[in-house]
Structure formats: structure tokens, C-alpha cells
Symmetry: C2
Subunit: 378 residues, 2 copies
């Protein structure tokens, strides 16, 4: 194996390394996994990073990026601790950086008058990952993907007791993908109308957050799915995530189809009123009580034995149905309302202890947020 | 005692409360100390907060601030937990806020359509502090005070083993005040030419940081000192700090007066070169080795068994004296250089294991930074 030796534009290298660093866990028990695997080949430079959840591969080549300034003097590969690699490339203030393996795993970085010699790891010590592309694939606009992530990930469970709930479930029937997340107290569901193969997989919430960051700036994302992994690809970047094991609960039957009361209210005004009371917590839970009599007679209040209470009157756009007195987690409703986008939103109820549903006003009903009430304190 | 009842401009009230919150420790064993004491008197509103180190008193009156919009309907006093108080005043989005004690310690806050009723503490439960003004006083421009704080506080010790070193010593001989801080490995000294009574006091570093924030925007600060406390006053705000007990070490004799080598070097270039290597640490200490032969032959390097090494050549403005090979904490020298202000700075040495001194170029020699070398690793 020859020694690695290349020169590259510092800014482009830094951007790629920062993206790859998403798949580094700082304290991996396998030292090489704290590093980024750098492979200089005849076609370009490949950066690989991975942890228990994620695998990211970035291919940099002059054909794809005319400002890359990549010249490979010697092919080869090395693993460098991501912390040191980022420190060096961040702080070197020259236009280009040269990287050369000079002795075994000792790697020299030069830029301007500064020179660093860093101890690396052998590429052969870097764990192998199956990075082959699964057969089932489809295209998704980045905008749709990142919206979907914003609209669902927050509702996934953060408790490890039921692993499968810590992800977002993607269920495709060929014509649409139903994306669902739930922590058992609330549920987010987004329906994407997209032609894709049939599948039913659950992707860790953390992976989706990294997908959102890794592909920011891209237009179209190529997605490929198997029953073991999901791959996202665009602009030379490939991100692969493991899937969560276990059957995702059937949630469709939990979503009420008929409602007895419906509130149409300004989204911002509702969020602000809820957030104003957010510090009034009992046992660290922030409960809002909402009393609805008519569009002109809506009140929200909160109460805590220790701190005190709040009260605020709101005017709704409309209210239909019998008066309703319902209590819920203020944070859950505020978070759900924040994912909606219309000026006024619909909140549909079926009773004071039944789940209620928040949706946008208008034709686009692809997003639904469901929240379970809590027992009133009085 | 009547019940407190007043109305005030929300923004002005918020600014004053945020300033007072500097003297709140979140988990005081005395519950009332988690709160801000609000006193509505005939002359205006007084806000008081305090902890083990600090006492802040803010007086708000319409005569001092024509936009205060203060109207006192009933005099009285109450203590409200600072967290809740700030939450409420931050989130109420009306122009004015009304505050009224309605039942014992239950206090109502109203603004716009929002209403909060918060459980407070009796003013009589708020610990008394002697807030009388010490006799020895002088004037200081805020700019001089904040510069001085920036230039010295960072060098104070953070270890509680020798309490007196966790502050900045102020020693006045009537015509000048010598301000010194040291953690035994480095020392900062700033001389203020100001006519003041004689005193020798040590102020906790944390108090000085709060002084810098509390009086930002003020022009002249009235300072009063006794052997037990120091007071700062301006624009209706009074901040009082305890002093650190114990004799401050005599440090003047530690500062070398004669030097064998002198380096004049661009301040920014030196700081950047040092910071580039800052990740190369041995036993978590970041040691820079500086080898000086001539103005054209200056190098800085760092080395760690585990990580690797760095090397960078620098060109100085001038270098006089025999060649010198010296090692020091990179962080200490970078921090010291950052407090200096001239484009080029002087670093004066007396030997490889003797303290060296960093000063500005030019006539103003009021600021001096001293750093102790460390043993070289080779």
C-alpha cells in the first residue's frame, strides 16, 4: 500500500469533515471509530465515519466541485481522530491544506507556516460496514424530507424502555408513505404522497435529525430501504442508518374519525398564551386547563399548589359543539401547534378524556397531531 | 402595613429585574433569597436581591426615567421568586404590567389578557443587610472599571484552597490604585491613576464580573470602600460586595525589573499561532515551547506523546538578547496577550525558568501580565 498524500481546498475539506463528524460518538470503545477514515483514490477523496447508528460516506472529486482543488499525489488511507482533524482544519488559515502519511500512521498536515504531525490509526483497524445500496428506492425532495422530520421527530419517545418508539415509522403502500411517531401520550402523523416500493421500517429519531443536517442545501434525496437499513444519498454524500427492531404499533385505530367539538383558533395566539404559563408546573408537569363555551368565551388556565396560578381569556375564530372543559400537557400542545403552518388551526375533540387532534386549516390535511388529555386537577 | 399595588412599563421593569437577578443564587437555603424584594414607596419602587457575596438595590422613579410609567396605587412590599417573576414579566406582551398583593402574600400580575397569581414571601422574612455607604469613596469611569475587570479577573485563582487569591486585590496609596490578581502561576497587574482614599481590599472575581454587567451603559461609577465591603453606585443601581478575608500576598517583588531578552511581536499572529496548537495537550495541560534566535528565527511548537506535535515559524518585529528556549502554558500566554491592546506587544524574559512579562508597546504601561514558564518536556 502506498502512502497517502494529497492537497485540498481548506474550506471544502472543513465542510465535508464537519458533515462526516455527525456519525462520530466522542467516546467509542473502538478507538478508530473516534476517527474519520480518509481514503485517497484515483477518482477522489472518500471520507468515512460511523457509529452504532449511522454510517456516513462522502466522496469529494474535482469533477463534482470545481473549487475543490484536490490533487492526489499518492493514494492510500489513514484514520485520524475527528477532534484533532477538525481542530487542525478549522484553525489552519491558508487556502489549501496538504495531508501526507509520513511514517506508519504519523500524518503531517501543513497549511501556511503551520505544520502538525498527528498519530493516526491504520485503515485496516477501521471496522467494515456493509454500505451496499438496498434495492427498494425512491426519490424525495429535501424540503419534504426536512419538513417531515421537523413535524414528527419531536413526538418520538426519548425513553429506551420501548426502543421502537424512539424512532419514526415509515409505512409505504406504494402510493403514499405514512410517517408516524408517538411516545404513547401524543402522536404525529404525516402522509407523503410519493410513489415508492412497499415497506414498513422505523428509523431512529437521532438518525433523522442528522439526515436533516447532512443534506441541508441539497435538492433531491435518493432514499433506499431494506429491512435492515435505510440509505440517503445526494451530492456525493451517503448516510446510512440502522433501523429499530420490533413491530411498530398499529396507530391508525387510535386516531378518532368523528368529533363532537371543534375549535378554530389563531395558532400564534394559542402558542403564546400556553407558553406564558409554562413555568407553572406541578410535579414538573405543565398542565393547561382549557374551558370552551363559545368562540368568545375560551379560557386557558394553569395552577400549582406551590407556585400559584395563571388565567387568560382567548377569542377563537369559531367553536362548535357543547361546552368542554379539558386539561392537557401545555408543552405537548404547543409543540404540536408549532409544527402546523396555517394562521388558524383546527382542534377537534371527542370528549374531555379522549385524544384530540390538531390540523392545519385548508385543503392540505397531510399532517395530523394528536394529544391525549390528562385528568383535571380539580 | 398597606398592600402593595403598582403599575409600571413592562420593558423597564424587565431590565431592572434582570439586573437584580445577578445577585440570586438559584438554590439558596433561605427561600426568600431566591426572590426579589419589591418595595413600593412614596418615592418610587425599590428592588432588592442578595446572596452570600452580593447585594443589589435598584431604585426606579419617574423623576429619573420619564418612560418608567410608574404609578403607585398602594405602598407595601413583597418578595417574589426571581424565576417566576422574570418568566412572567418576560412573557407578558403588554406595554404595562400591574402588580398587586391581593391576599397575604398572594400577588397578582396582570398585563393584556393574561393574569397570574403567585405565592410570594413576606418582606419581613427577607434577611436584613447593612447597605449603608462606607466613608471612603471615589469616582471611576465605567470604561476604566470594565477594562480593569477584563484585564485582571481571568488571572484570579478558581481554586478555593486559598480564598484570597480568588479575587482581585485593590491597593490604593492615595494617588493610584494597584489592581492585582494571581493564581500563583500567572499574575495580572493594572495601575489606575486616580485620586482615592488609602485602602487595601480584595474583591471576589465573581462580584467584579457582575459589576461589569450591572453597570453596562453607565458613565461614572461612585465607589465606596470599607474594610468589610465595597459598594458601586450609578443610575439608581447600588451593588455591594463582600470582601475576601486574609492578607493578599506582596506580589511587587515577584515582578522582574530587569530583563535579558526582549521580543516584540504582532499580538494577533502570536495568539493565532498558539491557539492553532491548543488541542495538543499532555495530561490535559497545553504547553507551548518557544525557541527564539533572532527576529527572523522564532518558532513555536507543542508536543504530546498521545496526539502528536505541531510546529510553526513566526517572524518578530525585533528580538534582542541571547537565544532563548522557553516553555509555557499556551492558554496563559494567549489569555494574557488578549488583554493587551497594541498591535505589537513586548515580551520580556530573564531566563528559561524565570517569570516573563507581557506589556503593550508604547507609553501606556499601566497594564502588565506575568507568566511563569514550565519545565520543558525534552
Amino acid at each position: 500500500m502506498s502512502d497517502l498524500n494529497f492537497k485540498i481546498n481548506r474550506n471544502r475539506f472543513l465542510t465535508a469533515l464537519q458533515n462526516n463528524a455527525r456519525a462520530i460518538s466522542a467516546n467509542s470503545p473502538i478507538p478508530a471509530l473516534c476517527g474519520i477514515l480518509i481514503e485517497a483514490g484515483d477518482d477522489g477523496l472518500t471520507l468515512i465515519s460511523s457509529d452504532a447508528d449511522l454510517y456516513i460516506r462522502t466522496v469529494l472529486s474535482n469533477t463534482d466541485d470545481e473549487n475543490l482543488g484536490l490533487s492526489i499525489l499518492d493514494t492510500g488511507s489513514i484514520v485520524i481522530d475527528a477532534r484533532y482533524l477538525l481542530e487542525i482544519v478549522k484553525k489552519i488559515d491558508s487556502e489549501d491544506i496538504s495531508v501526507e502519511v509520513i511514517d506508519g500512521t504519523l500524518t503531517r498536515f501543513t497549511g501556511g507556516k503551520a505544520e502538525f504531525k498527528i498519530n493516526g490509526y491504520r485503515a485496516s483497524d477501521y471496522p467494515q460496514t456493509d454500505a451496499s445500496e438496498p434495492e427498494n428506492s425512491f426519490q424525495l425532495a429535501y424540503k419534504d424530507l426536512s419538513d417531515l422530520i421537523n413535524e414528527t421527530v419531536f413526538a418520538a419517545s426519548t425513553k429506551e424502555t420501548r426502543q421502537v418508539l424512539t424512532g419514526v415509522n415509515f409505512k409505504s403502500d406504494g402510493t403514499q408513505i405514512i410517517c408516524t411517531s408517538t411516545d404513547s401520550y401524543r402522536l404525529a402523523r404525516k402522509i407523503l404522497t410519493v410513489s415508492a416500493p412497499e415497506f414498513n421500517v422505523t428509523v431512529p429519531a437521532r438518525s433523522l435529525n442528522e439526515v436533516k443536517g447532512a443534506f441541508a442545501g441539497c435538492t433531491d434525496i435518493h432514499v433506499a430501504v431494506s429491512d435492515r437499513k435505510i440509505q440517503f444519498q445526494a451530492d456525493g454524500i451517503m448516510l446510512q442508518s440502522r433501523l429499530l427492531e420490533g413491530a411498530y404499533p398499529e396507530t391508525e385505530r387510535l386516531i378518532p374519525k368523528e368529533f363532537s367539538c371543534e375549535l378554530v383558533i389563531n395558532r400564534e395566539a394559542l402558542i403564546r398564551a400556553i407558553e406564558r404559563s409554562s413555568f407553572i408546573k406541578s410535579d414538573n408537569i405543565f398542565v393547561i386547563r382549557m374551558q370552551m363555551n363559545s368562540a368568545q368565551d375560551i379560557s386557558i388556565s394553569s395552577k400549582s399548589q406551590e407556585i400559584g396560578e395563571s388565567h387568560e381569556d382567548l377569542t377563537a375564530e369559531s367553536y362548535t359543539g357543547l361546552p368542554l372543559d379539558i386539561s392537557f400537557s401545555g408543552s405537548y400542545v404547543a409543540e404540536a401547534a408549532r409544527t402546523l403552518s396555517s394562521e388558524n388551526i383546527h382542534i377537534s375533540f371527542t370528549g374531555e378524556m379522549k385524544p384530540f387532534v390538531l390540523t392545519n386549516e385548508g385543503e392540505d390535511q397531510s399532517l395530523l397531531q394528536l394529544v391525549l388529555p390528562v385528568r383535571t386537577y380539580n
